[in-house]
């Protein structure tokens, strides 16, 4: 291979004047994590509401949940980001649209909201499956004790369901982190974006992408390890995964 390897490139100053190339990549990593965390919070909030709606005895609630999930699941994430970023400001009234367009950090907020809603559909499906996997007796017992629907979800069903679906939620969180890379298309310079601009400035393609790869693997490893501890901590006694 006639490719000039130069692993010292990371310690050389970057042309942006923000320190070395390594600093550039680390800034990208921080932005990746920040975007992913905000998106994940949104995904959990909306996903939980929609997931619960899909299990309620009401037909209307079920349909709202069904439409939400189908809407966000059947479009590529990239298209959804374009809709949020390019189309939404045009469809709003003039003033609101202008305000959206001039928002500082628009790519960051758009990416977090877009990815958050996209992931909320997946969280909702997982939660629905989690609630569905509980024995029917749990809900009946809650009703027999005189708990209202809200109370039985709050104290009986949801605490069980969330603990059961923790492993699939972990992989959805990892997906959220990976999906932030799609936001490169609306100008969010996160980890992949920084690796790409490092490649353009320095021509060291493979060093830049190797560093980004290693950082993604590291984040992955930390999340998986952390979640394994959490899983053990909240495991339900009496289940296979329990103590």
């Amino acid at each position: 291979m006639n490719y000039n390897w130069n692993w010292h490139i990371f310690l050389e100053p970057n042309p942006m004047g923000t320190g070395t190339y390594l600093d550039m990549l680390l800034a990208g990593l921080v932005l990746t994590i920040k975007t992913a965390l905000l998106a994940w919070v949104l995904a959990l909030i909306f996903g939980s509401v929609i997931g619960v709606l899909r299990t309620l005895p009401s037909r209307t609630a079920y349909w709202i949940g069904f439409c939400w999930v189908e809407f966000f699941r059947n479009m590529p994430l990239l298209v959804q980001l374009f809709l949020w970023f390019f189309v939404l400001p045009e469809l709003l009234p003039r003033g609101a649209g202008l305000w959206l367009k001039q928002l500082p950090n628009a790519p960051y907020w758009t990416a977090a909201i877009g990815i958050g809603f996209f992931m909320s559909a997946r969280v909702a499906v997982q939660l629905q499956a989690g609630i569905g996997s509980l024995p029917r007796g749990q809900k009946n017992a809650a009703t027999a004790l005189g708990l209202t629907t809200v109370q039985s979800y709050r104290y009986i069903l949801l605490p069980m369901a969330f603990r059961i679906i923790l492993p699939p939620l972990t992989s959805e969180f990892l997906n959220t982190i990976k999906n932030t890379a799609v936001a490169i298309t609306i100008g969010l310079i996160e980890l992949t974006g920084q690796a790409r601009s490092m490649q353009e400035f320095s021509f060291q393609v493979f060093e830049a992408f190797t560093a980004a790869t290693v950082l993604y693997l590291l984040v992955n490893f930390i999340v998986v390890t952390g979640m394994r501890f959490l899983e053990r901590y909240v495991a339900i006694p009496g289940y296979i995964s329990g103590k």
């Binding site: 059947n74 298209v79 809709l83 390019f86 189309v87 990892l174 490169i184 298309t185």
Partner: protein
Amino acid sequence: MLGSFDFDVIRRALPYLFLEGMRFTLTLTALAAFGGLVFGTLIALMRLSGYKWLGRIAGVYVDFMRSLPLVLVIFWFYFLVPYIGQWLTGASRPITVGAFASSLITFIMFEAAYFSEIMRAGIQSISKGQPAAASALGLTYAQSMRYIVLPQAFRNMLPVLLTQTIVLFQDTSLVYVLSIPDFLGAASKVAQRDGRLVEMYLFAAVVYFTISCVASFFVRRLQARIAIVR
């Protein structure tokens, strides 16, 4: 607002969008799904082979691919494939690889990791008596896989494989980062040329949504039919 919505822009762009863009997207999806299934099955067989190192290599490959964002993998292969081609053919400089070939290789290698996990679950869902009976009949390992285990595993996993293919169909839109005119790329090109972002992106969204919805409806029906047979 919608008052200035220009349907004519869409109508004029239709031939380009579908004959060029959608053809690229569908060809890429079909070939990548086929290639991903073949390689994915091989990886799954490696993992279940019982040879420690073979299984470990396959496991590392799958975990590695699954922890990277697809966008990064697309960039990786885009820059790496010319060098691999040079290495394979012994040419003196990195060979030029077309946009289609580059993205096809990327998606086959990437999807193989996901398809392999599905096929692994499929193979493991076959009861032990089946390969045991096959070897009692005197079939070799290859024969028992070819005639007994894999057909059943494939059949059991067909709905999941098809669902993964729908995900793949949506993911092919990410070749946008290489400025390749797939369906979304073509829509975006027209959008920027005519200054009609709203119309083109809304139209692209509707098309993706319709195709994915119809496809997943048929997958659900197939799933119901298979469930009755078993």
